[in-house]
Point group: C2
Chain length 309, copies 2
């Protein structure tokens, strides 16, 4: 394949802020998206795992996406919202909606309720979504995250989907945490846009043809990750990669989503940002303080919200 | 607790038929519900695991339920639809809808995308659903099916929910397949309406205070299961139980949902019934024939649709 990639670079699965009423907070969401793009992200993936995306209702997802597009602060082509759900028909609704808003792609989980589905069954799920959305603007990124979804994409299923839908199934986010799987995808399907799900694998990935990374940590550390992406062929690449790897490991010593929200709340001086939706629980003040202290002490880590638009 | 139970007896998680267009087939669905009630079910649980419930969209579930209630062939009080989803807000929508239609209860999965949630997080999910539905007609049955959902209900979480919401959280379907768990629930929370998820545990369950069973096999074998329920204190109870256990084991030697649909399709002489929604795949004709042959040969098993209304 010698096509211009649809997405590349540093992509944040956008954290979802919640308001006092427990619903998603569209104003803070749009503000966070703007800040992410201003601080190094090349594109955004709302409604991923880090976004508590599967804890959001269909209407909530569609309304947030509309608010973001209506704010006109970024091109919809740079949005890759999560639209895969257990129910084929709900996935069609969300996917159609995203395409109609001009989103450049969608990041699709496989149906993940029923465990150990057959490869044929998963293939048909995607074939039916593509058939029902019936729009050649649709670009699907497969979301492979077996540690959470349990159901994933085998190398052979990916190959079948690429072969059957070469202009539609264009990439994959690999959150397996298994570098061998990422390397196998890159070696087997050149031109397919593979994004490791952690910046720990960014430099190794780029050297083997990865398109960038889609990583939770981009919510707070996009600038440094972007620096690796922009300079991966430069003399300092290994040093820059070592720095972002160290920060990632420091952050993931805590529960990832609560820790990221605690960081944003702290540096933005906006306590509302710590809120999570059940089944997640907000960090206690003491635990949030520990996150801030540990990261500030060990890494001099801070966030500059003056960079926001 | 000395309350009249809300549900008891033999409850089928109703199979969902699909039409040529891939959507749920409301006419066949209502017909099947009528037949199930005519052949021994005391109540119905649409949109469970056997129903491919998590493969149905929100709108599809609500429309099917409305069709069934509108058909006026059974009391809505005898319906316990599945309304638990990964997203709290979607669960609220489905639960409110079911209560407004007069359903006697709802069968709620925990949010199952994020794995290993805290007990506190799961407690809050249910507390928020109950708070937002805000209707004292709401009766929740917890749906414990860790082999599929992965996320389940610990004995202590069940206790917390009963204590906090004694008039709302009234029962549980135990599809753990672990008799010790069922026995522990029955011993710890007398009066709580516990339904084993398989009729294999029906007699043992009834002897320890279970309310009945909610089982996939009720879609084809309700009469015999009802016979155990009605005669569990009689002299033939063990013999009757042995028969339904043998049939269950014969059926579950095949993939359960496709096998049940193949049986219905065969005995109803209605090939449309074999259809499954992705990620499930229809049985091949050869495999469907094997299901029929094996069950007919070994168990003289047949279905009499003349019993339908």
């Amino acid at each position: 394949m010698q096509k211009k990639p649809t997405f590349c670079g540093v992509i944040a699965p956008v954290l979802t802020p919640f308001g006092e009423d427990g619903g998603p907070d569209a104003e803070r969401f749009v503000e966070h998206c703007q800040w992410l793009m201003a601080t190094g992200c090349t594109a955004l993936a709302p409604f991923g795992t880090t976004s508590e995306g599967n804890s959001l209702g269909l209407d909530e997802r569609m309304e947030l996406l509309e608010e973001l597009v209506d704010a006109r602060t970024m091109e919809p082509a740079k949005l890759m919202p999560g639209t895969g759900t257990c129910a084929l028909s709900d996935a069609v609704v969300l996917t159609k909606h995203a395409v109609d808003l001009g989103c450049g792609g969608v990041l699709m989980l496989p149906p993940f309720y029923y465990k150990a589905p057959s490869e044929e069954g998963l293939f048909r799920y995607f074939a039916e979504v593509i058939d029902e959305v019936a729009d050649n603007r649709l670009k699907i990124y497969l979301y492979h995250i077996p540690p959470v979804a349990q159901v994933g994409f085998s190398l052979s299923l990916v190959g079948r989907l690429i072969k059957a839908f070469p202009d539609t199934v264009v990439g994959l986010k690999d959150s397996s945490g298994d570098w061998n799987n990422t390397a196998a995808l890159l070696a087997t399907y050149p031109g397919f846009e593979v994004f490791p799900g952690s910046e720990v694998f960014l430099l190794d990935g780029l050297r083997k043809g990865a398109a960038g990374c889609i990583s939770a940590t981009c919510n707070v550390g996009a600038a440094a990750i972007r620096n690796v992406y922009d300079n991966w062929q430069g003399p300092d690449a290994d040093k820059l990669q070592a720095d972002i790897t160290a920060l990632r490991k420091a952050i993931q010593a805590f529960p990832m989503i609560p820790a990221l929200k605690a960081l944003i709340a702290h540096y933005r001086q906006d306590p509302a940002w710590v809120k999570l939706r059940a089944p997640f629980v907000d960090l206690s003040t003491a635990d949030a303080d520990k996150v801030i202290r540990t990261l500030a002490d060990a890494h001099g880590f801070k966030l500059d919200f003056a960079q926001a638009a």
